[in-house]
Structure formats: structure tokens, C-alpha cells
Homo-oligomer: 347 residues x 2
Amino acid sequence: MMGRLTFVGLGLGARGISLEGVVAVKEADSCYLEYYTTPHEPTLLKELENETGRVMTVVDREFVEDGREILKEARGSRVVLAVPGDPMIATTHNELRVRAIGQKTETAVIHAATIPSSAASASGLHYYKFGRMMTITRETLDSMQQAYHTLQTNLLQGLHTLLLLEFDVEGGEGAAPPAVIGGLLRAEKNFGREVLTEETFALVLSRLGRQDSELRAGYLKDLRNSEYGEKPHCIVIPGGLHFTEVEAVAAIFGLGEGEVRDNSRNMKGTAEVLIPRYAAKTRRALNSARERLGRDYDTLLENVELYTKDAEGFLARGEHELAMLSMGYAEGLLDSAGFTGRAKIDW
Amino acid sequence: MMGRLTFVGLGLGARGISLEGVVAVKEADSCYLEYYTTPHEPTLLKELENETGRVMTVVDREFVEDGREILKEARGSRVVLAVPGDPMIATTHNELRVRAIGQKTETAVIHAATIPSSAASASGLHYYKFGRMMTITRETLDSMQQAYHTLQTNLLQGLHTLLLLEFDVEGGEGAAPPAVIGGLLRAEKNFGREVLTEETFALVLSRLGRQDSELRAGYLKDLRNSEYGEKPHCIVIPGGLHFTEVEAVAAIFGLGEGEVRDNSRNMKGTAEVLIPRYAAKTRRALNSARERLGRDYDTLLENVELYTKDAEGFLARGEHELAMLSMGYAEGLLDSAGFTGRAKIDW
């Protein structure tokens, strides 16, 4: 008999498995359940066994990472590995699948709900406006820096950010929302790029898809001092908001529409901040320089004016890097008179 | 009796509903099924009715958009609206939920597998490396431009891009992979930003999660001339690849590892292309200018050197806009000698 390894997603909550998944479990010769890496509803195992009439062999992460026993068995029989959420989100399960394919064992994947997509859809925000997400295992300096950077990149594009607060298997601890929020605010203090403030609007989704799920929305200053109970948690920091998103978030989280804030509104990229400021300064300096410089500077000054205009044009077309190049060039041209002692340039 | 409106996700395929969803359908006073906007497996309705023992009332999009009947009913009884995939991904269902909350009807959401997350996890790529996704309803000039732009933004950050090929309800037509691939290649011809070529590596996932699903991988020149059968389809254009992603994609799609290409490898942002080139040119021009300019230019020339170095430093730290500003400034300073007739600058 040809063997087969089927990865069955258990979705969210204790009854998240699909009917297709139930059939796969029933038809399997042996069934493994790996849920050490994923916080799950306490009744999961019992519900699963009741519904399928099968006994699940609960295995730990090492067993799956090692994989030799499962792979050996799957050479000649139908093996199911059941995993909370969608089974192929984790690298470990992907690697096991690659090894199974490598030994010519047929594989199959039965998808299920997973936190990243469910968090997006549960939030009332538009799914296609989410940027890159980030997983935070512990509130380390490095992971906070990365989250801060991801947030900046997304907010600059008006995109929403999902932060998945993960569960550290060895330490037995998950990253709790207050610690992560505190870490983000400290990152702001260190980097000072005006990515977030205590007034930044955010959503905290706890135990999504479970009976005891809790959804909270508010400003970071308030959210950092709350209790959120059992893991898992995730945090969504919205970017630009369409009015239907404001309505949906307000309704779902029980807020007034005025309380739902657009965190991208005041976010500006370097060029957007600097070009208007520099262009104005350059024009003022140009005017005062004109009076002091002779005719041999006419062409140069004309070019200062032209390149300043170019910078504004590039900015308007979203070509921020070329805008900065033009702006710098105009400033350099004008400043040359100062460096060569021809005229003091008043910036 | 207090009413309730429950949105039940049907996941992928005909048996994608979760056990939780089955319970909700069984307990409801009335059950609606809306699947006009989403291509679904033909046996879906039959399987659903068999499994739940309930008759589903199949409704069209207008019925859901209008919503008055459902909302009225949900005021005093338990109503289920079943939707393929995850129920809250579509704006229509979100809006209905907001209206239900507005009339003080309790709402609940039962999540399920959805194409965006399943496509990411089925592809063998790391989920957290996906950037913003895009939905393409028809291969219009505008949507192709937007997809091209999204692709560029993602690839520059090394991120993967998911293009969801949607289904146009009124026209009864979906965007087919060959047309979309052709449209992207034409966008490249128009914009010329070297975002993609005929050699760009891509994945096409058709009817994901269904019995008749088909996964294909290859280069755009080959993929554009293939047949993909029934909708739905989606396209994944990978960005930077970790070696475990190369292994997984090769195994899942039956390719040699050498055939799996990193589309981000040669992607460079404007500053990354221009700064090294401009810095070299400026240093050459600086050397030749030194011989021709007098001592009054010493400070200026020293600053040209310093700002060129600054530009390289900013680039190395990822501050592309400041790098361009410095580079432009250095060039402007040096070029001033040409504009004022002091010395011809040989660039």
C-alpha cells in the first residue's frame, strides 16, 4: 500500500477542524496531534476524539522535528498529523512535508482558519490593506526594533500591521500585550521617528475564535495597563482608515466613531517632511543671494530654481529619492558661493 | 427571544465548514447561503445540507447587500449566513454585521480557511514574508498598474506577493492567469522599472483546497501560455527566498532547486542603483577638478568628498532618501565651478 501523510488543520477553538479534516482523521491508520507550540482551547483533544471516534497520539515538537517515526510509518500507511490553526504556517511542518515528498510519500494538506487571516477579518479592517505581519516571541530589544521598523514601513504606506504574540515553548511564556506595547513605546523613544505615540490606536485580540475570546480596542496608553488573560493574543495597529473601516471597528469594539483613530494621517516619509521645508529655505536663500552675486552667477542661480522645482515635481509623483537628489543638488549649487568666499549664503 | 446573526465560514472545498459551523447551522432558526460572489465546489450545497440536516436558502448578493430581510429576522431569531472561505473577508458581510450591531442584534463569526492564508501556507513560502496582497477583478490597465506597483514595493523589501484573481459577478467572468500575466508584462514594458521579466518565477494555484486543485510553478513566459481550468485562481510572485523556502517550493511543485528563482535578487531601489554610480563619477570629477581649481576651492572640494562619503554611509544604513540628498549636494557643490565659468567639470 502506498503511504500518505496528511496535515490536518484544527483551526481556531476546540471545534475548528473542517468536515474534510474529520474524514481524514477517521480514514487514517494512525493520528498524531501536535499542539505544544500553539496555545489551544483546553477541550480540544476531547472534542476531537469524540467527534472522530479515534484516539489521537499527542506528540511534542521534538517528535515532529525529528520526524523519523512519522515518516517511516507514512511510507506504508495513512498517517495524519493534526495541528491547531492552518497546518502549513509553521516551518517545522513544512520541513516534514518536504522530507515526506523526498522519500516519495504522498502528502496532503487540509487547510483551516488561522490567526493571521482571522485576526484581519475579525477586526473590521479591509484584509487587502494589511502589510507585512510580524511574530514576536519575546519582548527583546531586537524584536521590538524589528516590530517598530515593520510598523513604520507599513504605516508609511497606509497599511495595517498585525503583531502575532507567540508562545515560547521552552520558557513556557508568551509575549503579553502590555510588555509588547511598552517595548514599542520604548523603541519610539530610542528611534524618535514619530511612528507611534501613547495616543496610537490599536486592537488587542485575545483567544480569537475560542469561546472565551476577548476583543479590546483603544489607545496604547490605556491598553498597556490592561489585563488580557490567557494566551494567545495578537495586536493590530491600523494604518489609514476607509470610512467603512471606521464604522466597522467602532461597531465591533463598541466605540464611538470619533474614538477610532487613523494612525497614518500624520505619518510622513523623510522626503515628505524635508522637501517642502528645504524648498522654502532654498528660495529664501536664493532671493537674498541674488542681490549679492554678480552676473557670472546667473546660470547657476537659474539652475538652483529649476532643480528646486524638479524636487517638488518628483515628490508629487512619489519619486522620493529623486526628489531628494534634486533638492540636494540645488542646495549644493547655491552653497558653493559660501564655500568659495564669493558671498555668505543665509539659510 | 434575543436574536442573533451568525456568519459561518465554509472554508475551501465542499467540506471546509468547521464543526463549530455545523453546530451553528443546526441550532439556527433559518440558514442562508450566499455563494454567488465566490467560485465554489459544485457539491458544496448538497454536502452542507446532508451534514447538517438543514435546508439552506440560497440567496444572491443583492439580497445580502440589501440585508433588510435578514436583519429583520435576526431581531427575534437565530439566523445563520453561510459564506465560502472566511465570512468576514468581504466588505459586504462586514457591513451587514455593522448594521446588525447597530440594531442591537448579537452577532458571531465562525472563521474558516480562506484563500489568502491558505495560498501562502500551501506554497511552501514563509507566511510572515508576504507583503500587501492584491485583488484583480479584471485585467484592466488600472488594476495592472496597481499590481505592478504593489509588486515593486514588495520585491524591493524582499517580500512575496499574492495576487487574488477574482470573479466578476455581473460579467460572469474571472480574471484568468494568462491574461493577468500578460498584463503584468505589458506594465513592465510601459514603466520599465525592471520589476519583472519573462524569466520571473511565479506560482499559480488553482481551485485551492478542492478535490480538483492544481498547483503550477514556472517562469512567466511559460505560465502565460498554459491552461488552468475552472476558477478560482491565484498567483504568487515570490520575493527573496530562504533556502528552506527553495527546498519546499521545489518539493511541492516538483522542480529542481535550481529552477526556483529569487525574484528579489536583482531588485534594487533607486538609491541602491544610483549612489554607487554617482559616488564613483563624483570622485573622478573631483580628482580632475582639483588640478584646475585654485586654493579658494579647497574647502568646497573637501566638502564634496565628505558629502559623497555621507551618501554612502546613509545608503549602508538604509536611509536612502538622506543618501540621495547628500549625493545631490556633493554634485551641486562640484558643478558650481562649471556654472560660474571657473572650470569645466568632467563628469
